[in-house]
Chain length 399, copies 2
């Protein structure tokens, strides 16, 4: 029996991309993980989740363990609506879909919008999982570079104008992480936010705003694109992974009702009553405003430690953006970061090589992503020290 | 902005089917629910799940709340492999994918196998959610009727031979629920099981075996198709929804490694660490053999109550199959069951009208699905009494 002969056309095409699972090597336990975009272990509310489960099952018994019927689970939507409203996003019940994390939300958006001919705009670099998702549906991309102020909207405008003038197809949507971008940590300026919305209206495309890090600002907060979108063009994707716990798999899309209806049609894992009702119970008994203050000050302090260590230990050839929030610092170095990773792991540290974040992987050769969210302050400092030493060594051996 | 103009071709096509959400009306609390394919409330282990969460988070703290890294979560796969092995299905680690329930498993199989030209064989009647999933990918179906012995494989053979002779396209896979079928409760005979595997080899198609009810036999158990498949043609879908709790959303596919790799590629909700680790902890501390004995005897007793009530209260025009396991009894009556439902709900009972289970909905007009799993014995009896009275009334008014 020839297994491959049974695959659909789109499956055959998708499997021609990089083999699945070709990703970071497994990390030994003692490794200082500057690669992981995980929340800090001590900020994960395991005790509170335990209490939430106990209180939920005491109150509702078997209800959250069926397909439907948990009153608490029904509240999660309202709670998320309220959280969005505090940031200027007023969405109705029919404009919100709860998903199993942001990735499922991005996949559902791709499912309803992308044909094999669809042109998609992505940032360069961008979130690798989103790239993989889009590549399952199309091979047509416009890749627009990021600088310290986020997506370079002037370049985007030039390219759109050029395509229009030449009579080429125009993009159906832009995928952007405007606030504390993954992997660069950059924040799109207010001017550029307005500019990109103007371009979307002018060239008639949609915007998939990935806002996983939006609430984790250090000083001033940024306005989500969704909050200043008067045209219904923004499909806003959010998640509780970075502010509560990724293992709960709670995310959402906020968008025009027609989009929500179509996404619900294709969402075939059904709801997740136990996880959703547990999260609703947790949110009900948690002062999220206070929790967010704790998260912000903790991550700001950890980021400062990382930035100081970079100043102290990096060779002069290295450069980086200073983030205003989120989990990440994006580093440019003078060596090939994929080759560097093996040596780094021998030295007991990890990072993510830049190539994973680009459509054209070779564009990422000299970059790497550092995360300050997971490792503790002592290990962050020690990790950067080892990375700095390693870079000095490699550079001097190459001279 | 014209929202519909942004939809992909396949989305536009899928949305032309019945509008999403057009399904059973909401049921008032006091309604006797003979419609719900839910486990019996007192058999849902809410206390044990609470204890599993407490013990898991005590042992692993934050680990099951991250993306990866929970040792307990890793054990779930082994536990499912062991459970499959007790039923003659010996699958390797690379032949098993954990999914968010059986529906996600079916959707992933559809995702990798179905083009818009793909021909799919379904049973008539069959599980409506699976029909909806397949219809998102193709509009080409062969529909083969069920009788008291399950899928009529002779009819299938005739139709396949005819298509081959005429040079028509042949099907890529058969979707079947051989054991305690939803909605008919029928069990495919051992002869027909062998026959369908022979046909699959002869006409080179795959078999999607949906085995959600396979462990819930009353007397003798049946051999899963996967256990007698020597050719790698069976993609076996299972779930803990019917034997533990649907709200946990734990299911799987067991299939050849190439299929598993492709499905994992398209599975973009990531894993569900909290739910999966909780389930692994629950299974570790539960004697599932004993639990299954309790489930079997309880559901057998409830089924007996329903069958006795049918004998006692149904008009002579009604007929049904006697199930050997599972959750359902399939009833044929002399009236239109979609029209009957409104009156039934006024009488405080619910069932699922037959039309939902057929590709050609009109084929289901005179059928309805009764579930004996959820309502208690007293309510089952009372519910059937009311249904019988109602049928008598409607029949006599139509005379």
């Amino acid at each position: 029996m020839n297994v491959a002969s049974f695959f659909s056309k789109s499956t055959k095409e998708a499997l021609q991309n990089d083999p699945p699972g070709e990703w970071m090597p497994a990390l030994p336990n003692e490794c200082i993980r500057l690669s992981s975009g995980y929340p800090a272990p001590h900020l994960v509310p395991d005790e509170e989740i335990k209490q939430a489960v106990a209180s939920l099952l005491k109150e509702e018994q078997d209800l959250p363990l069926h397909y439907l019927g948990s009153p608490k689970m029904e509240k999660l939507k309202e709670q998320i609506q309220e959280r969005l409203a505090t940031r200027g996003m007023h969405v109705g019940e029919d404009e919100l879909l709860i998903t199993a994390g942001a990735c499922q939300a991005i996949d559902l958006i791709a499912r309803i919008l992308i044909d094999d001919e669809t042109l998609v705009i992505v940032e360069a670099p961008t979130y690798m999982e989103a790239l993989e998702i889009f590549q399952n549906y199309t091979s047509h991309f416009m890749s627009i570079p990021i600088d310290k102020d986020g997506l370079q909207t002037d370049l985007l405008e030039d390219l759109l104008a050029e395509r229009k003038q030449k009579g080429l197809s125009l993009p159906r949507f832009l995928y952007t992480i405007p606030t504390f971008q993954n992997p660069t940590g950059t924040n799109m300026t207010e001017e550029r936010r307005k500019h990109v919305l103007k371009l979307a209206a002018q060239y008639d495309f949609l915007i998939l705003e990935d806002d996983a890090y939006g609430e984790l600002h250090f000083e001033k907060h940024s306005t989500p694109l969704k909050a200043i979108d008067t045209d219904g063009r923004v499909l806003h994707v959010g998640s509780l992974s970075k502010v509560v716990a990724p293992g709960m798999r709670i995310g959402w899309v906020a968008a025009a009702p027609e989009f929500i209806t179509a996404m619900a049609w294709f969402k075939k894992d059904l709801d997740h009553p136990f996880a959703q009702a547990t999260m609703a119970t947790y949110l009900e008994s948690t002062d999220m405003k206070e929790r967010l203050e704790t998260l912000r000050s903790t991550y700001q302090a950890k980021c400062s430690v990382l930035l100081s260590a970079l100043e102290q230990y990096m060779p002069t050839s290295a450069s980086w953006y200073v983030p205003e929030g989120g989990y990440f610092v994006w580093l440019k170095v003078a060596v090939d970061t994929s080759e560097l990773l093996a040596q780094a792991m021998e030295a007991g540290i990890s990072f993510v090589p830049g190539r994973y974040f680009f459509l054209s992987q070779e564009d990422g050769t000299q970059y790497l992503r550092l995360s300050f969210s997971y490792a503790n302050e002592k290990n962050i400092k020690e990790g950067i020290k080892r990375l700095g030493n390693l870079l000095e060594e490699v550079e001097s051996s190459e001279r």
